[in-house]
């Protein structure tokens, strides 16, 4: 018998099988045995199996878990922080969240770099102080430190207002300076760009360009006049607000502060417009 025959014959031994009855019976017995052993009846889905096998299991899990934890922690801190600031918005001195309000105001001021925005924030905070005074005064029960609180708030209000005034004068000075600079830069730009035009783009004559820029300059100066006229207006409104505040007319003072805010806003818009105009003027060159 050669090896091939032998192997073929060995293969024929596959016909040996357990008794079908025994197989069936034991199948039932086995099922009842394993069912008795465990309590939960889990049935894994094919999709789950494919997903688990496709994912580089351990590495993926090990990597993802800390990332998720960190992300969750960050979200939690963010939510708590933002929620705290919002909750503290209507707080008044003596409330547990009042300190959060002050801190958030300081932080807002710290992350604002534009002087005008800072002035606006100062107005807003001053208005907050005034509002807080009305809230403290509205408190039903008469407490000893009510007067103290109001006094402190008044001081803070003054501080904010004086800060805003400083800023406004600083802005005014800076604007005057920049106006002078702008006209100088504008002139320099004109000469330069006129030359460039002649070389590269002889579509517009130098005269046209000059005319255009003169028009822009006119606009510019008009806007500048507007701007300088609004600045003292904001100052004046501020003075009025302060006066009303001294007269304990807090609500009207808040209105005045809003008006001042609008005045600064208007000024900012004008300045933005002027800036935009000058930009277009230089870009057409």
């Amino acid at each position: 018998m050669n090896e091939k025959e032998l192997l073929k014959k060995l293969n024929n031994l596959q016909t040996i099988k357990p008794d079908e009855n025994w197989k069936k019976n034991y199948r039932d017995v086995l099922y009842s045995q394993i069912s008795a052993g465990s309590t939960e009846d889990f049935k894994a889905s094919n999709f789950g199996a494919v997903w688990d096998n496709l994912m580089p299991g351990k590495i993926f899990n090990d990597m993802v878990r800390p990332v998720w934890a960190m992300a969750m922690a960050c979200v939690l801190i963010l939510v708590v922080g933002i929620g705290g600031v919002y909750a503290s918005k209507n707080s008044k001195p003596g409330d547990s969240l009042y300190i959060a309000k002050i801190v958030s105001e300081k932080a807002q001021l710290a992350i604002t770099f534009d002087e005008k925005d800072k002035a606006k924030l100062g107005l807003e905070f001053a208005a907050n102080r005034a509002k807080e005074i009305t809230q403290v005064l509205e408190e039903p029960k008469e407490s000893v430190d009510k007067g103290k609180k109001v006094e402190k708030l008044k001081q803070n209000f003054k501080k904010e207002i004086s800060g805003v005034k400083h800023r406004l004068t600083a802005i005014k000075a800076a604007e005057k300076q920049s106006e002078e600079d702008e006209t100088q830069v504008f002139g320099a730009n004109l000469g330069k760009s006129g030359q460039g035009m002649k070389i590269s783009e002889p579509l517009k004559s130098a005269n046209d360009v000059e005319k255009e820029t003169v028009e822009k300059l006119d606009l510019n100066s008009q806007a500048a006049v507007n701007a300088t006229s609004t600045a003292p207006r904001a100052d004046e409104i501020l003075e009025e607000a302060e006066k009303l505040f001294d007269e304990n007319n807090y609500n009207e003072s808040i209105d005045k502060l809003e008006e001042a805010n609008n005045a600064i806003n208007g000024k900012a818009d004008d300045a933005g417009q002027v800036k935009g105009e000058s930009e277009t003027a230089t870009s057409t060159d």
Binding site: I16, K43, G48
Partner: protein
Amino acid sequence: MKIGKVEEKLLLYKIKKNDKQAFIKAYDLYIDQLYRFVYFKVGSREEAEDLCSAVFLKTWNYILANSLKDEKTLKALLYKIARNLIIDHYRKNSSRETVSLDGGDGIQITDEKQDASRDFEIKADLLVLETKLPELKDEYREIIIMRFINELSVKEIAEILGKTRGNVRVLIFRAVGALKDLVNKKDL
């Protein structure tokens, strides 16, 4: 019953998740070859049946107790447990009188129900090999059963026996040689 590699992986995954239905499916798939393996090692139908049932129950308990971290295939696990149970079985019965496989007129393994449909040639083969297989060294017999009767791959056998693939190939070669010698000796 044949099963694809992917299917087997899927089945193993489900069993790892303690899916009972999947385990019963595995029973249907592997009971025949496992029975054959045990039967050729112990030489008696009753003992083979007892051992097979013990193998499946033990495997299930093993899966429940350990999360099957290092087992790559269910088949290898079943064979490993079967081998250990057979060793335990021999140990327990060593004091008792053991039934010799090649004693008398050989083992009567032909199934009465299938007798009629079975062809004469196969019957003859069975008789020759059945009488010869038990004479083979235990190690060789085991590997012959796994490789040529149950048609396991070299890789699977290597996993079951805990040997390298090269080792398994050498063993198979020697086992076939030894069996050939035995059969031819009888023929002479």
